[in-house]
Symmetry: C2
């Protein structure tokens, strides 16, 4: 499908990102907790073809930091963040589904976010960007699909924040999706996860280079982002994985600054954190991170049970991982039970993956069949 | 017992800390990984009376941050950090034991540490303080007890870092203790704990006020210490405790800085972190924190099993907590099994406390009987 009218391929990086489309939402976008945005842009990529009866759309939301480039395609052959999961013959089979991956509202990979220019001032929104919620991410995606003429998707899915966005989509727009797939996500954030993310945000804000959010475009609090990413890695992976992988192996480091790297696990965190810095806008990180804390499905009805009564899903798949400390298994179990009680045919899988919250990105041997078998049976 | 000769009551704060004694170790103190200290001071407090045959000494090592003031006494009626555990009729019964609590070498509550004046320069050691190990803490305590005429203690014990110090004491000085009590400790640090502490140290070092360790006495990297303490709290407590205690309760805060406190768990961390800052020397924190990472009992024989063959303990008690993510239960289990295999009569208790690593400080209803019954049966 080639979208028309307000849609254009991204021209910022024509070679590297020629698979990325950007569309404009018509009119004023009103935020869930107040505030408005004008001229909202939503970036997305697609794989496969929309069936003539428009019945095969699969809407994929991302976690906090990925772009819409979930997988390679003829238009952009570089590997995506879910390369092993999406494509011809893969679990998200592009020979069967028309897959759309949306860059979340508030992010920094083509969709409108704090680093975007405010059309009213000509300057980046920075902290004048209104409070972002998961509901806004879902609403912007829904409006984007409407612009593309897709009123109903067969499957809405996502992992982590993406699972929250998928759930918000199903809650806000009953009937707009038939099937929901939630991976390592939850109906709300628990205090440990809030604490981790709160400290990450504080590390970014504590970096003088943040300048109250008004850092120069493309620059920003690199040291704070690096520290926040290290803390993130501690919550994304698991102690069991690191024990097996690193044990007490010493770092092979030429650096000898006082209290510098001694152990391989420290070296690993340093290299992962350095790789992350510069690729993600700090203010987007703050807004998306807080949106995860704020999300609570119970607010859509008083309790989760009441909220879920409005759902018009036919089926759901809920997958969690035993070693996840950010979205622990008991939250996956509660989510699945909530779906069941709401009369939705639900499959619940508790995977023994060792890589914690990040398992959906790395433990492909478990996640491929978990998702693939479910989607194949639809 | 009133120690003589090189021992004097601390004169720095005569009213508040009149229970604190400080003794000087004779000669040069050679550090485990190299380097020397002259005129080492060791601060300690005592409870109860040493029996005429000197058979009832109980040596208590502390965790990373406490002073030697474990409990109140006539000389200092202010509550100590283990007030409910130590005193007449309490688990560490001062009517039976002569309890000595030692301020660790490298700390900042009377014992020589990085904030002490180097007698050769007249300035604080700061980063010229040699690399500190758990072995040094144990050796300094052993020398202090020798100065007091105590060559053998009935019990050596400690929690967290204190448990490591107690184990190092038993390994380095076989026969110097009959019984070992290890609470929420381990033979070594695993990569997750190393990662947490490494980032804590980096947060302190990243604070410009640290000045490469050369901050003015009594001042220092307050912001870095506050952030490090927040991260510490995440590793000291448990997600289960916070879920029960805070849920999604909102903060009752008058502050409205951008991305400031939204949830009660954030407010709790902020208040706990603020209370900690200023009370602990930042360089001491760095040295003691790294000492925990570096400790590995296996280095005393090639393997833990070989190292433990040198132990001359008669009995051991090993207590751990199910929700501890810093010193997880499988490490307690391995420690207890190691003692058993070395022929030491060992009692192992896995407590279902909800407060994580800090449970030994707060879940007194479980830790009092766990420790008290064991000691009473000696």
């Amino acid at each position: 499908m080639q979208p028309k009218l307000t849609v254009h391929s991204d021209t910022a990086a024509p070679n590297a990102e020629s698979a990325r489309h950007v569309l404009s939402l018509p009119g004023t976008f009103t935020m869930h907790l107040g505030g408005e945005l004008q001229n909202v842009q939503i970036a997305y990529e697609t794989w496969g073809k929309l069936a003539p009866d428009r019945s095969n759309a699969l809407l994929l939301f991302t976690g906090l930091s990925p772009s819409a480039h979930a997988a390679s395609s003829p238009a952009d052959p570089t590997p995506g963040w879910w390369e092993e999961m999406l494509g011809p013959g893969k679990p998200l089979d592009s020979q069967r589904f028309f897959v759309l991956c949306i860059n979340s509202l508030g992010s920094c990979f083509g969709s409108t976010g704090p680093s975007s220019l405010n059309p009213e001032t000509g300057k980046p929104y920075a902290l004048s960007f209104p409070t972002l919620t998961v509901e806004d991410i879902a609403t912007a995606a829904h409006a984007a699909l409407a612009t593309l003429g897709i009123r109903r998707v067969q499957v809405v899915m996502g992992a982590s924040l993406g699972g929250m966005s998928a759930l918000a989509y199903a809650l806000l727009f009953p009937g707009a999706a038939d099937v929901l797939v939630s991976l390592s996500s939850a109906t709300h954030s628990e205090p440990f996860a809030i604490a981790v993310r709160s400290l990450q945000r504080e590390l970014i804000r504590s970096d003088g280079a943040w300048q109250g959010g008004n850092y120069p475009s493309g620059d920003g609090p690199r040291a704070g982002m690096r520290l926040a990413r290290k803390l993130g890695m501690m919550s994304y992976r698991s102690a069991a994985e690191w024990l097996e992988r690193f044990g007490r192996e010493r770092a092979d480091s030429a650096e000898h600054e006082p209290f510098g790297l001694e152990f391989e696990v420290e070296s690993y965190l340093e290299s992962r954190a350095r790789a992350f810095v510069g690729g993600f806008d700090a203010n987007s990180y703050l807004y998306l991170s807080r949106a995860m804390d704020l999300f609570d499905a119970a607010e859509h009805g008083g309790t989760v049970a009441k909220a879920f009564k409005r759902l018009k899903l036919q089926k759901a798949l809920v997958v969690g991982v035993e070693t996840d400390i950010l979205f622990p298994l008991h939250q996956q179990c509660a989510l699945a039970e909530g779906f069941e009680r709401a009369g939705i045919a639900t499959q619940y899988l508790a995977l023994p993956s060792k890589q914690g919250h990040d398992s959906f990105l790395v433990d492909m041997d478990r996640f491929r069949p978990a998702v693939g078998d479910f989607l194949a049976a639809l």
